[in-house]
């Protein structure tokens, strides 16, 4: 009962049939009113589809998008911050390596120290042994400056989310810590093997990272 041409009529409408088949189909249409009617309908459907107008949603979707865009930004910053926390940094400067004991004492349970093996990176042959301080956050001279810079970047990106009083407290804390770092570094130039000064410097550096991490996280998650 089904006309064998019926299933090919959309292809005819779209010009997808080869010339011979199309000619045969056209010849069939002159004899078959049912198929001719279907072709007219199919053309009308395709034409109607082209005439459809776009319309916007009933409710504004922007608030939901904006909230997620801003949350995504915060999460991205936070992820960067979390990656920094996990970063292992290596002291390779000889005077700090020599002061490892002091670092251990100063860190008092929050920082552990290893020299050589035991999961720490192998020191480069011919250089002073590397001292690995691993704990979130960890400290090294090599990684310290990039870590600080990255945290400062995160903080700067979201600084406007913090109230001015909080910003003032953060800046005052960082200024105090920077002074302590500068004083300890200057003193170490005079007395590189002094374990007290080395520990003092390590503590100040760690404190600066802590303050920056907390401030960056606070800024990144504030709305």
């Amino acid at each position: 009962m089904t006309d064998p041409w019926t299933d090919r009529l959309s292809e005819l409408v779209d010009g997808d049939l080869d010339a011979a088949t199309a000619a045969a189909a056209e010849a069939h249409l002159t004899e078959c009113a049912a198929c001719a009617g279907i072709v007219a309908d199919l053309r009308a459907v395709a034409r109607r589809a082209q005439e459809l107008r776009d319309r916007e949603p009933v409710r504004d979707l922007w608030p939901g998008i904006a909230a997620r865009v801003e949350r995504h930004d915060a999460v991205t910053s936070l992820s960067r911050w979390k990656r920094l926390r996990k970063r292992r940094v290596v002291f390779s400067v000889p005077q700090l390596a020599a002061a490892g004991v002091a670092l251990l004492a100063v860190s008092a349970g929050t920082v552990w120290l290893a020299i050589g093996g035991g999961g720490a990176p192998s020191p480069v042959p011919g250089t002073a042994p590397a001292v690995v301080v691993s704990a979130p956050p960890s400290l090294t001279l090599a990684g310290y400056e990039p870590a600080v810079r990255e945290l400062e970047l995160v903080l700067a990106e979201h600084r406007d989310r913090l109230d001015t009083a909080t910003v003032r407290v953060i800046e005052a804390s960082l200024a105090t810590i920077d002074r302590a770092i500068a004083e300890a570094a200057a003193a170490l130039e005079e007395d590189p093997a002094n374990p007290y000064l080395t520990g003092h410097l390590a503590t100040a550096m760690r404190r600066k990272l802590d303050v920056l991490q907390q401030a960056a996280a606070l800024a990144a998650t504030s709305s």
Binding site: D7, D41, P57, W62
Partner: protein
Amino acid sequence: MSLTRDVDSRTDLDDVRRAAGGDTAAFERLYRAQLGRIHSLARRMVGEEDADDATQEIFIRAWNKLDTFRGDAAFGTWLHRLGINLLLGWRTSRGRDRERLRQDEVALDTAPARRPDTALRLDFESAIGRLPDGAREVFVLHDIEGFKHREIARMLGVTEGTTKAQLHRARMALRQYLER
């Protein structure tokens, strides 16, 4: 007309650059300019019920990928293509799969042959939404969005024969809903 499009294109490009730098106001302008087109695409591809969610997902994905927009095509074209890719995965991501394409054939074959009662007739757009998923996707991509069977077959991971059959069945079902 062409001048207007060029100006729109330049404005879009400026806004894309700003948005890629984190400027949400610029991104909102892009959103407002493209919302109707994207929401209509989403509504036709995944249905009225999921259209709002899908539209939001498209814009969120666009925001996350703005840095990959090179400006070779208009922003609207880029966004539209990104939207189609997301919408094609929409059913899969919600636990439905390509098996539906084959099931659709059965559903369409059993569709009523007669025109429905006038009082129950749907408008044409709503009728598209009532098509089975696979037939609806092919119909929207071919007859509304203007893609070729070869492109649609590649997008859907099926043969051209399948997309042609789906399109024909969709049209046959929709002809009952032509406003006359």
